[in-house]
């Protein structure tokens, strides 16, 4: 097809990684087009409207927050690379968060964007562990986590060389895993370091209007740089020959060609586009892909309140990572949802400044969930399962919040609810198995079996919103701009 449109670079997916890569490439004169199947940008960090309200999808809090003047961290790097002024993101800091363990959250570690708070909490609760903890933190501070060629090592093994109390070990792993681990039980140490820095050494922040603010900045930049994008038009097939991605077949059947292709849709999802026999995937065929889909999926409940959550006596904690059991278990849920542990987020409890607050109260809870148990339910059963698990998740999470003034206070204050499941995640993001953190096997250099096809985003291994953007930037730099191609 001589008439096919040709681009210097085609990017698959208009999430954080795709937009960031697109800005870099378009800024330096490349003819770039981003193809996105969904009608909204953001990918795993998108937003939607329901009943006249706007909801964020993934964003509890943006991690990696540092204050103005702190340099050399992921946030600073990406602002420079994308030529974004830090004020454009309009980030507001968290008030405080905590990790709460035990049936009623009896052991609790508070942390803020000031790391000394967390350190003194560890010293207070685990006095025998504090020296080991400090050694661990200094190892983490000096670890080169952005190296593209680091040797994988078990994070549990490294942590056990510094800490002997399994409770403290689990209390560190719980937030780090919930905010980014694609592997069960353990993590690669480099991934642990990235997340530990992002959560504890840096911190949490959020724009008042949520993830839309960040997406608007990225979209404006991309447009000003001359980048093109097509929405509601995904890539259905990558035609390969002689080790090259030769052409892309779009959802509307047309074909485009590109000198380079950056895929942000995930490693197994990209491999599937190159294997026509997998277009209608069966479990067996999917499992045969070089990079397996992740086993971990999640569900989230969102409760809209007619008042600030603090007015229910819940205090002003921003995020609470909880676990009720003796051991913290991070694995594919045996039942539809595993309510033993999870994350509570109260978006109202960021410091938005005087007289600036969200229009309504929000109470969000995330738990591990089992994709297979949700995906094939007939519609009526699916709705019933959502109602049942919504109630169970709320009950479980409330054990880690101060007791309500009356038992039905939450019900009285609730004006709307929503819930998304592993099935919702796959429907809107195309991630196999509802695995928002992608494949357990990361590809740090972004290389694929095709010379001119690179991965960016979650499966390249930089995590979180900032990590995803940095991944897009790094892969565009490394494979295309720096190589002078």
């Amino acid at each position: 097809m001589n008439t096919a449109t040709h681009y210097d670079v085609v990017i698959i997916g208009a999430g954080m990684a795709g937009l960031a890569a697109g800005i870099r490439l378009a800024h330096f004169g490349k003819k770039v087009c981003i193809f996105e199947r969904h009608n909204a940008t953001g990918g795993l960090n998108s937003f939607y409207s329901l009943g006249g309200r706007k909801y964020d999808v993934g964003l509890h809090a943006m991690t990696n927050f540092v204050r103005a003047g702190v340099k050399g961290t992921p946030l600073t790097k990406l602002l420079r690379q994308l030529r974004i002024e830090r004020d454009e993101f309009a980030l507001c800091e968290q008030k405080r968060s905590r990790v709460a363990f035990g049936p009623r959250g009896d052991v609790s570690l508070t942390f803020t964007n000031d790391f000394t708070v967390f350190e003194s909490e560890v010293a207070r609760q685990f006095p025998a562990q504090i020296d080991g903890f400090r050694r661990l933190v200094s190892l983490i501070r000096s670890y080169d986590d952005v190296s593209l060629g680091a040797i994988p090592e078990s994070a549990r093994a490294v942590i056990r060389r510094h800490l002997s109390d399994p409770l403290l070990e689990d209390m560190l792993f719980c937030p780090v895993m919930y905010y980014g681990s694609a592997t069960e039980h353990d993590m690669e140490f480099g991934q642990f370091v990235i997340m530990f820095k992002a959560l504890f050494l840096e911190g949490f922040a959020r724009p008042l209007d949520g993830v839309r603010v960040i997406l608007r900045v990225l979209l404006d930049k991309y447009r000003q740089s001359g980048g093109e994008r097509r929405m509601k038009c995904g890539v259905q097939k990558i035609i390969t020959r002689d080790g090259q991605a030769r052409a892309l077949v779009l959802d509307d059947g047309t074909e485009v060609t590109a000198t380079h292709v950056i895929s942000t849709i995930g490693a197994p999802e990209t491999e599937r586009l190159m294997s026509p026999q997998l277009l209608a995937p069966s479990a067996a065929l999917t499992a045969s892909l070089p990079h397996p889909a992740g086993a971990l999926s999640y569900t989230e409940t969102i409760t809209v309140l007619d008042r600030e959550p603090a007015a229910l006596g819940w205090g002003d904690d921003t995020i609470i990572f909880f676990n009720d059991s003796e051991k913290f278990t991070y694995e594919r849920s045996a039942s539809a949802v595993d309510v033993r542990s999870g994350v509570i987020c109260i978006p109202n409890n960021f410091d938005y400044g005087a007289d600036r607050h969200l229009p309504e109260g929000l109470f969000r809870c995330t738990c591990l969930a089992n994709y297979e148990q949700w995906v094939n339910l007939p519609e009526a059963e699916y709705r019933a399962a959502k109602a049942r698990w919504y109630a169970d998740i709320q009950r479980s999470a409330q054990r880690f919040l101060p007791t309500l003034p009356t038992p039905d206070a939450l019900t009285h204050a609730t004006v709307a609810t929503d819930m998304f499941t592993p099935r919702t995640i796959t429907k809107f993001t195309g991630r196999m198995g509802g695995a928002i953190y992608g494949s357990p096997q990361k590809i740090r250099d972004g290389r694929t079996s095709m010379d001119n096809l690179y991965l960016a985003g979650t499966d390249q291994g930089f995590l979180g919103i900032i990590g995803a953007m940095l991944s897009g930037i790094s892969m565009a730099n490394f494979h295309i701009l720096q190589a002078g191609k």
């Binding site: 330096f28 420079r80 030529r83 830090r86 701009l481």
Partner: protein, 85 residues
């Protein structure tokens, strides 16, 4: 183009790629890296902006020539002259 003008070109690029750095008192003969927090991504950007704005190519082997403002001027000024600038 004079060496001072070349330095000005480099300073303008640094101001755009690292607006959070104070560039008003940079010493010409001291490595840029020692006076500001610039990493390899930032140096790549100096090279990329030189190409974009001025059609100047800096091969990777020559990145070391961009260490200080003085070395930038020594290395880049002949390239500008060769382009008739």
């Amino acid at each position: 183009m004079t060496k001072d003008e070349t330095k000005q070109v480099v300073l303008e690029i640094i101001a755009d790629i690292a607006p959070d750095e104070d560039i008003s008192n940079l010493k010409s003969d001291v490595r840029l890296r020692d006076q500001m927090q610039l990493d390899s991504m930032d140096f790549l950007d100096i090279v990329m902006e030189l190409r974009k704005r001025h059609n100047i190519e800096v091969p990777e082997a020559d990145y070391i020539q961009l260490a200080s403002l003085d070395s930038c001027a020594d290395y880049l000024t002949p390239k500008f002259t060769a382009l008739g600038k």
